[in-house]
């Protein structure tokens, strides 16, 4: 019926205003926001436990987000080829986190990983096998081969497809809603009770009443100019949680993937694609003078792939800063020592896609450089995936703390699966054991968000260029909030981010019509800017270097900083806490 109304929109302004305001309301047990691996697994688990689920995604179901892009490996101590135990995986995760992992979350991640991997195996994901066993490769930072994969960089798409098929089997209890953009969560009597959203395809305002909500919207890599994730990874979940009253932790720790593809231009491939081939073939990193350089930064690769992400990122950027970068500002990655046959065996059909881009690895190196890849920080949650707001759960990359200051290779899809499943279970338990809801949705709930969604902004205007504003934010973050930071640069970034906020204004452009991308970008920027401020403020506060957070003006790791910083949203302002007293004094002076 709302669709009928929208067909009439352009004919009569008064009619349009009345009809565009017509609200679509939905009631469900569990609302899951985001349909990557975390959201889909949460939906499946909640449905298995008897809950009715609305699985919403601002893009198409199971297609956007990070999972479908994950071309690499999934860490789990299966021990099928090499004896292993989750405790070894846990030890490696803690060591990689540079003293900052939330131990309860890291333990959950490692302890339940194998179970999820085997469940996906039963659902037919197709993990690569040797001699009948699921085979595993050894990624940097792991003490033994522990990372499973679907061959020829197909891990993420296979995981997505498998979970989508499993969701289809639960079609009676999982309702899927693509192109549904959540604007704000509704909190009544201190509990999460649903969300206000709008339907991108039609422009219709939507209100969802839910007894439990799971945020599984992924990370924030879209804040940076060069990133390895989808266009919808703008930190939505962090902003939604913050505005709903749930605190964030560790927001200063953004992981850069050191060897993102840089040049020559390569289309139809994810820029993180070189990683799996480094597992198989080693590959050699060289600076612009074709010299090996990683030994100078404390890790001699010796033809093997052992360098952790934080160290490799640091080493490459330092070489570039010293004038020893490759022509496009990165490093060379060479597989020229491998035979054509070995390359074909490792790369399979990918060799042909490289050839279509005029890349022949036997004859030429490629250029690589760090690229925003993953967020260690996120919403503070316990091992049930419960936030401080009752009824609000989180899953996957939205969860902060499991990976500390630096994530181990292979733990991202693992946490999507494990945390997704756990969040779905917790949400369903809440629905089952809860007394009849004390809170009923009232007309005033979500009124401010509904007003934004329904409001006609300025007419579609080419001058207010939301796409350009996003590009400017990405440039600000890349220039001053990347892997190498200074107090001066961070302060500069904060000033520019605040100016962008002023420019954004308080009303979205356009009106509630079909697929208004400019209007969507306005809502995206509303989230991206608050998340950017949280990162910058925490990075300014942290006057030390640790893992993914490297301060050129505070280059050592300091014991008093082995603490999490927390960000809360209070009265429209961000408030950080947790910095050690001595360091706080440094900032004040």
């Amino acid at each position: 019926m709302h669709r009928f109304a929208l067909h009439r929109i352009r004919e009569n302004t008064r009619y349009e205003r009345r009809m565009a305001a017509e609200l679509v309301t939905i009631e469900t047990d569990v609302l899951v926001v985001g349909s990557g691996a975390a959201g889909m697994y949460a939906a499946i688990e909640a449905a298995r436990r008897g809950a009715a689920v609305l699985l919403a995604d601002r893009s198409l179901i199971g297609r956007g987000g990070a999972t479908v892009m994950a071309q690499m490996t999934v860490a789990a101590a299966l021990g099928e080829e090499t004896p292993d135990d989750w405790r070894h995986h846990y030890d490696d995760t803690i060591a990689a986190g540079r003293g900052l992992c939330d131990e309860a979350l890291a333990r959950l991640l490692c302890e339940e990983a194998s179970d999820c991997i085997r469940e996906l195996d039963r659902w037919g994901v197709g993990w690569a096998r040797k001699d009948g066993h699921i085979t595993a490769t050894q990624a940097p930072g792991h003490d033994r081969p522990r990372c499973v994969y679907v061959d020829f960089i197909n891990t993420g798409p296979a995981v997505s497809k498998t979970l989508r098929a499993e969701i289809a089997r639960h079609h009676k209890s999982i309702c899927k809603a693509g192109d549904l953009c959540v604007v704000d969560l509704i909190v009544g009597d201190g509990e999460a009770s649903g969300a206000v959203a709008w339907h991108l395809s039609s422009g219709a305002p939507v209100m969802v009443a839910a007894q439990a909500t799971v945020l599984a919207t992924g990370g924030l890599t879209r804040l940076f100019a060069r990133n390895s994730a989808s266009a919808n990874m703008g930190g939505d979940g962090y902003a939604l949680a913050l505005r709903a009253g749930a605190p964030l932790i560790d927001m200063e720790f953004v992981q850069f993937f050191p060897i993102g593809h840089l040049a020559p231009r390569l289309i139809g491939m994810d820029p993180i694609m070189w990683d799996p081939f480094r597992y198989k073939l080693g590959g050699r990193l060289r600076n612009g003078r074709m010299e090996e350089f990683t030994a100078a930064y404390g890790s001699d690769e010796d033809g093997k792939y052992v360098l952790t992400r934080d160290l490799a990122t640091y080493a490459i950027l330092k070489e570039v800063a010293a004038g020893r970068g490759s022509p496009h500002g990165g490093a060379y990655l060479s597989f020229a020592h491998c035979s054509r046959q070995a390359l074909r065996a490792a790369f399979g059909p990918v060799i042909d896609r490289l050839a279509a881009n005029a890349i022949d690895l036997t004859r030429m190196p490629v250029e690589v450089a760090p690229i925003a890849h993953y967020h260690m920080g996120g919403v503070k949650a316990d091992a049930r995936m419960a936030t401080e707001v009752p009824g609000l759960f989180v899953a996957g990359e939205v969860v902060g703390g499991a990976n500390g200051a630096n994530r181990l290779s292979g733990n991202a899809i693992t946490e999507a699966l494990v945390f997704g499943r756990r969040a779905g279970a917790s949400a369903a338990e809440r629905v089952k054991h809860r007394a009849p809801p004390r809170h009923r949705m009232r007309p005033q709930d979500g009124a401010a968000a509904l007003d934004l969604v329904r409001r006609d902004g300025f007419t579609r205007d080419r001058r207010k260029n939301t796409a350009a504003m996003i590009a400017r934010l990405q440039a600000i973050m890349t220039d001053d909030v990347g892997p190498l930071r200074t107090g001066r640069g961070l302060a500069h970034a904060m000033t520019q981010i605040e100016a962008l906020g002023d420019e954004l204004g308080e009303r979205p452009p356009g009106r509630a019509a079909n697929f208004d991308l400019q209007r969507l970008e306005w809502f995206d920027l509303r989230n991206m800017l608050v998340v950017a401020r949280a990162i910058v403020q925490c990075a300014l506060n942290r006057t030390e270097s640790r893992g993914a957070h490297q301060r050129e003006d505070f280059s050592t790791t300091r014991p008093e900083w082995q603490v999490h910083q927390t960000v809360r949203g209070r009265d429209g302002r961000l408030q950080t806490s947790g910095a050690p007293h001595a360091a706080a004094t440094v900032i004040a002076s």
Partner: protein
Amino acid sequence: MTAAKQIATLKIQRGGVGEAARFERFEVPFEPGQSVLDGLRWLRAAADPTLAIRFSCINANACKECMIQLDGETVYACTARLEPREMTLTPLPNKKLLRDLVTEIASPSERFK
């Protein structure tokens, strides 16, 4: 000495539900190796943010959301090469039009109803 900058001209079908389709021409800088989606994204940020296109993964050809027609052939905008000539971009003809190059491509069971 640098060669004169090459240009790709994108002739794009515009218009939403219930509107008459119209074509608009845009010139975008061309560099060898770029995709049509590169050109469209440049165009939105540099000239016209009201242009509607659908994409998620940008470059990986993983999300499969950016299907459009290029000179009457169905392509992914992220893997079709930009070329220094006039290229005609239209929405998929067999799907319901939402706006400009965006059509309803989700399977019915995955749509919000």
